[in-house]
Symmetry: C2
């Protein structure tokens, strides 16, 4: 990050005894900044607040966070803001002290636009061997426990591979390393359910919302190997990328079809500028 | 912690961008200090080195760590030393930079002896609802991803409960929140295997070692609900507690029997002073 606000003050370090470091005892958000504005900020804060409730972390309230995010987003044309909430410094051991100790970090870093080709032609991805573990108490949240994603991301080095797909121990598709996944199967849009694993991505939710507004349905369910093998289209979403159609999973090719195109258009209309493919193609 | 050495220097904070905070991308060790000496230090370092290999983290070498641990243990009669290794500050995203960026924290804090009664009469424990997830790639390691333990530890407040037992989604017993578990079943000593979950505790290994030296066997296996229900004795181990016999799991009572007594004696002979029950009983 280029700059951090820690509990509201410009700073760049946290106490070595913070439980966020010791146990990953906390949550984070990654928010796209486009033309000085933090995109879908309310939705990020809603997810953070829900996660704080589930982990019994005190949520500082929207006002403070909106203010700090705006402060860091100002003057940024293309950036990412990260919010980290931790349970702060504790005594030794897993037992938590009073919640007042919690710690709030908001950081910003400049980002570069992803290649136009990712949006115009799709991306190549690989299947990761690293499994996503299952735990209903943690499922859906963007916790600071992300070692599985770190190990999965280390499985490939080629810059030609944009993302990796992750599965659970039952071989069900869960997500990309850094993204959510949607599949078109039998003329229906599917996405992995979040009962046992995965993160409730803000762009994932936006896709579901824009489809619902069109009177269309997105089905959340277990994506078994059988369902996965029947997919005619696959696309990936996250807050910073918008939507990437998948053209290849390992050697298997996918078409950039109607589901991807339609969703890309709906997201562009919803304010996800990088999904404005017409503008891109024309530029 | 009362004091930290961070990469060898006296300090008390780490960069906000450290991957240990961002992702729990790292490992830790907790080492008992008794009378100025770090107990079983070589075994802790061997586990840390193995974990570093598995996570592709650079291991700084025994010499540096031994030196720093000794420095902090000096003059401490009863303390805990913590070592944390992280992948250091990285770029945004899960992909790791060159390994040179890794960060080393060694901290010390004074501790108090646990009640003598825990060793003389055993402890009361509860069954936790929070499940331990399964992932062979992480199993055995003391990683910084410990949210499940944090949630499990939050399940009880009573100071009369010394520990909680954790199970996986198949209801197999995995460990205590902060300890390993042994069970006597049908005249055999069992402990949960570490293929899918759990931590390879140093005191757990010491128990296995001292039993083997006696020509006796400890069986590592899946502790199914059936096996668990047949246990006649249960005891807990970790680096800081030595061994605690379990007298009660929720309302169910267990005897403080021969397996616990014998292991307690063997650990006392191996230098685990708090397991010297005769000395305790006589004092």
């Amino acid at each position: 990050m280029d700059q951090w606000l820690i509990n509201g003050d410009i700073a760049d370090s946290i106490p070595a005894g913070d439980r966020g470091l010791a146990y990953g005892d906390g949550l984070f958000e990654t928010i796209a900044v486009r033309a000085n504005k933090a995109r879908f900020l309310r939705q990020h804060l809603a997810r953070l607040e829900l996660g704080c409730k589930r982990l019994s972390l005190p949520y500082p309230g929207d006002a403070i966070l909106v203010n700090e995010v705006h402060q860091l987003a100002a003057g940024r044309s293309h950036a990412a803001v990260k919010i980290i909430m931790t349970r702060g410094v504790g005594r030794r051991g897993y037992a938590a002290d009073s919640p007042e100790a919690s710690q709030r970090l908001v950081g910003v870093t400049a980002t570069e636009a992803h290649p136009a080709d990712y949006y115009l032609s799709g991306v190549s991805v690989v299947r990761c061997n690293t499994r996503v573990s299952r735990n209903p108490l943690l499922a859906g949240m963007k916790t600071l426990n992300r070692l599985e994603q770190v190990l999965a991301r280390a499985e490939w080095q080629s810059p030609k591979v944009a993302e990796g797909l992750m599965f659970d121990e039952h071989e069900n598709l869960i997500s990309g390393v850094m993204s959510n996944v949607f599949l078109a199967v039998d003329n229906t849009l599917l996405t992995p359910g979040l009962s046992y694993s995965g993160i409730a991505g803000t762009m994932r939710q936006r896709v579901i919302d824009v489809w619902l507004k069109q009177g269309l349905r997105v089905t959340e369910c277990a994506i078994t190997p059988e369902l996965f093998s029947e997919a005619s289209e696959i696309f990936l979403t996250n807050a910073l990328i918008g939507l990437w159609p998948v053209k290849k999973v390992d050697a298997h090719e996918y078409s950039y079809g109607d589901f991807s195109r339609r969703t890309m258009g709906l997201l562009a209309s919803a304010g996800v500028s990088e999904c404005n493919v017409l503008a891109r193609a024309g530029s």
